[in-house]
């Protein structure tokens, strides 16, 4: 299972790519594999505040609907519009074209897992 070294992770299977004041958020390869075919992604409008550990949207697969949890505090600045027509991008490219939202960071994110620690949580 692909767990890129340069990203940070939550125990709830989101990833975050921190680039200065902003960050990109998605779900992991493992998460998309567990969910199966993704058919709908419900994301907030830009401008909305998100709080670390709180839900900011949901993702619907053929199997189930799951909450999305924010890895950090901040405000939504961009939503991946491509997912409206092609939610399957989350399956095919979870760390790339299947990103979910970009946020402006309100504070230094805490309690995130590095790749090795996240990889351990999805073993067995």
């Amino acid at each position: 299972m692909n767990v890129p070294e340069e990203l940070k992770y939550t125990k709830t299977h989101e990833w975050i790519r921190i680039e200065g004041e902003t960050a990109t958020i998605g779900i992991t390869e493992y998460a998309q594999s567990e969910l199966g075919d993704i058919v709908y992604v419900d994301l907030p409008e830009p401008g909305r505040a998100v709080q670390a550990g709180q839900t900011f949207g949901s993702i619907e697969s053929v199997k189930t609907v799951s909450d999305l949890y924010a890895p950090a505090d901040g405000e939504i600045v961009e939503v991946n519009e491509a997912l409206q027509g092609q939610p399957e991008l989350v399956n095919t490219d979870p760390y790339g074209q299947g990103w979910l939202v970009k946020i402006s960071l309100a504070s230094e994110p805490a309690d995130l897992l590095d790749a090795a620690a996240y990889a351990e949580t999805i073993q067995g």
Binding site: G36, D37, V39, Y40, E60, V62, V65
Partner: protein, 361 residues
Amino acid sequence: MPDLLKTPLHAEHLALGARMVEFAGWDMPVQYSGVIQEAKAVREAAGMFDVSHMGRTRHRGDSVVPFWDFLATNDIQKLTDGASTYSLLCYPDGGCVDDIIVYRIRQDELYVVINAANREKDIEWMRQHNDGGVEIVDETFESAMIAVQGPKAVEIVEALADAPVSQVERFHSATCDVAGVPAFLGRTGYTGEDGFEIIVPASQAAVVWKALVDQGVTPCGLASRDVLRVEAGLPLYGHELSPTINPIEAGLGWVCKKERDYVGKEAIDAMRASGPPRKLVGIQMLSRIVPREGYKVFREGEEIGVVSSGVFSPLLDCGIAFAFIRSEHATLDSDCEVEVRDKKHPARMVNKRFLQAAKGN
């Protein structure tokens, strides 16, 4: 958790990398390549399902036809040798014991396929009604059953068979070799597509399965089977049928005979006459949101019913469902809303035969 039962094809599923889940006490494949891909394979070419977990029972005796005609809601007396029919088993109050397929082998022999989750209960029900004139044998564990479904299913099975099985009519059966293995084939299925359900000895099931894989048939899991049966408007026991649902409510009055007595007839005829308090309808979302079991259905703010089964339909590219709706609100081709996680989403109430409607018939 007690040890799960394994079908004779269990090792094939593991070898193909299927994702396995517990279903009715069995360790079953829920998905291989992906639910949407598998559903499309069945609609466009051919897919196959290991349905060996379903109960298979044989019934012999001079009185076997009248015995089953009294237990089953549908007309068993009309069956000719080799013919089969869908039917229900009901309690005296009209609630449902199970839904089944009854094959007539000969005048003194029937073969009945029942749901996995109900196998023991059904056999007990049959034995309670048997005065000793019928021999009831559970053949589930000595056999396997593979459903091959899709527009190419019949020609693929025929290529492997030593008989012209394409000549077998719908709801009829044949006995022949498939991939060199003695098989009993029923031209039935649970997907809305043409195809066969192939019953073979457990010890040789893998030979048939592998031959079908070699012919390009796509292995499919329980999840795509659920999608396909909802698209085709077919009920599932535990969802659209149960001890507390009268067949008339589920729209299955057409499998309940009007002549001759059977267990449950009085209650079913009474509801047929008075009209059901709720009706099973189709729900089509205006979005890709999936209306799942238990979600409530509303119209103009008023709660009018509840979803019994729901899936994402690759055929229609939206969420679809069956729902039990209070009869006064069960008007087809009208607007409604489904409450999904505290938010109401627009939907249409439609005929539950989604596949047939999409094909224009």
